[in-house]
């Protein structure tokens, strides 16, 4: 690594263009935060880098499209992975036609169900963290994810996406139901239990 081209500067990490043994790749570099004390900073960077790498590998086993991880540097919190040439769902969602949008929502639901089938909670399911490439939706940014098979965790995960669609794609907030259609079809256990949980979480929120 000589110079770095920053593709995107997120809240906790920089995504830099890189080259890994001839493959076009990206590096996700978790940035140290001056606002928090070193102990918290170290703990978050280490656990998230480690956790993300593990969850990406597990997600692939469940049949969810994710970037291939080439290298991990736990000391500096750097993950080197495949560059996915595509478009963020966030950027294209509002411009799709109805049929395409329904189709994308169902695919999102199927992928989330596959993650949940493997006890994987993504932890930040927003349309910014999904890339459409070759007709497949790739999931990225598992940094807030965890292994958890509880209905509660699955409900919180889906509730996040519901909120993300409401706030970022408010015109299409009812499209969340198509996500649930895809989810129901693919989930091995009774999806209605999770859907009931989402309703419970909504009511639990303040002022609902």
């Amino acid at each position: 690594m000589t110079e770095k081209t920053i593709l995107y500067r997120g809240a906790e990490a920089e995504i830099c263009l890189s080259n890994y043994m001839g493959y076009k790749s990206v590096q996700k570099r978790r940035v140290r935060k001056a606002y928090r004390i070193k102990k918290i900073d170290d703990r978050l960077i280490l656990s998230r880098t480690k956790g993300e790498t593990k969850l990406i590998a597990e997600a692939r086993k469940q049949g969810v499209s994710v970037p291939i991880v080439y290298d991990v540097d736990l000391k500096d919190g750097i993950i080197t992975m495949e560059y996915i040439e595509g478009k963020r769902i966030k950027d294209i969602f509002n411009d799709l036609n109805k049929k395409e949008r329904i189709d994308i929502c169902k695919k999102i639901g199927v992928s989330i169900a596959r993650l949940h089938n493997g006890g994987i909670i993504h932890g930040d399911v927003t349309t910014s963290n999904m890339i459409l490439a070759n007709d497949r939706i790739h999931f990225i940014d598992f940094g807030l994810g965890e292994k958890n098979s509880e209905i509660e965790a699955k409900g919180v995960d889906l509730h996040l996406l519901m909120e993300a669609i409401e706030s970022t794609h408010s015109k299409y907030s009812d499209y969340f139901s198509y996500v649930l259609d895809g989810y129901k079809k693919e989930l091995k256990e009774d999806a209605n239990l999770v859907i009931q949980k989402i309703e419970e979480i909504v009511k639990r929120g303040r002022y609902r």
Partner: protein, 331 residues
């Protein structure tokens, strides 16, 4: 135009009088009286009694401080929600009485949105901020998107102030505990590991509260626990705020709510903003805590944008959500 606003969502009854000067908020007076329970937390009925006892005098005091006459007031606004029912009803009743007796229009406003608008109204460069609103009951990250103020992140269980107060009560501090915890935290030396719970842009504090109480029962130094609580909760709050800024691609951050008085929280959010090349804003203390001026200012903005409310439509809403407000006064 001059508006008198009545705030009464929780422990504070506040009367503020504001005037619009070239689109900016000119605060003429802002009188606040805070109910302090002798022990324990806020009892809604007792807080409401406190408000009812003082509201009339405070209105007179505010009129006097503003140097205006009752006949100069063009609009009466009040906090319609969210908040404690008995307190909201007291403020609303006072507003209706004023509106009818002065024969001036009434406007009910959303308390959380008022916290954001007062920042935009009183700080010159603050135009389109992400608001980190932290108080006793409320912890929300709010920003304007697609015609509304939307909640990008919020607490999944209790507000940050509530978390600090509950811990304070468990270790024998008076209400509110935040300022005492801040003092003790300055003497903290050792960081004790606490749950750091964020889900996307949402946040949870109850696990951390339990863990902190357990540290206390095990005899850990109170200063260290307070320090660890502040460092952990504030880092998480700063992180969700930064996430919302990245997500909405905004480069201004505004603080609001009582917990925004905490210096450590201010420092953290300011440092985060500097690292992102964003601007950091915090209103003066009396405009950060619950106050009538912000209620008056939002009422004025709404009225000027053409919104009207009849007295019979001025019912309070304890669960008035931030994103229920149609923001017709912004493009």
């Amino acid at each position: 135009m001059i508006c008198l606003g009545i705030e009464g969502t929780a422990h504070s009854i506040g009367i503020g009088i504001v005037k619009d000067t070239k689109g900016k908020c000119n605060v003429l007076s802002n009188i606040i009286k805070i109910y302090r329970p002798e022990h324990g937390g806020i009892h809604p009925r007792e807080a409401a009694n406190h408000h009812a006892t003082h509201v009339a005098d405070l209105i007179k005091e505010s009129i006097e401080a503003a140097g205006v006459d009752f006949t100069d007031i063009n609009l009466i606004s009040f906090s319609q929600g969210p908040g404690l029912g008995p307190c909201l009803r007291t403020a609303a009743t006072a507003a209706r009485a004023l509106s009818l007796s002065l024969n001036k229009p009434i406007m009910g406003v959303n308390h959380c949105v008022a916290h954001l608008e007062i920042g935009r109204g009183t700080i010159d460069d603050c135009k389109d901020p992400v608001l980190l609103y932290t108080s006793g009951a409320n912890t929300q990250v709010i920003a304007f998107a697609e015609g509304k103020y939307r909640v990008f992140g919020e607490t999944l269980d209790i507000g940050i102030g509530n978390c600090l107060d509950k811990f304070g009560r468990a270790v024998g501090m008076d209400f509110p505990s935040g300022p005492k915890i801040e003092k003790l935290a300055e003497k903290g030396k050792q960081y004790l590991e606490l749950p750091y719970s964020i889900k996307g842009m949402d946040i949870a504090f109850s696990g951390l509260l339990t863990a902190s109480e357990q540290y206390y029962q095990k005899g850990k130094r109170l200063e260290d626990i307070c320090y660890s609580m502040q460092e952990t909760t504030f880092a998480a709050l700063t992180e969700v705020t930064e996430r919302a800024m990245a997500h909405t691609e905004k480069d201004e951050v505004l603080l609001g709510g009582g917990v925004a008085s905490n210096k450590r929280l201010r420092d953290m959010v300011q440092t985060m903003a500097e690292e992102r090349g964003a601007r950091f804003f915090v209103p003066s203390k009396d405009l950060c805590i619950d106050n009538g001026a912000m209620i008056a200012w939002l009422g004025l903005l709404m009225y000027n944008s053409g919104i009207r409310m009849k007295v019979e439509e001025s019912l309070i809403d304890q669960r008035f959500r931030t994103d229920m407000v149609d923001v017709s006064w912004r493009d």
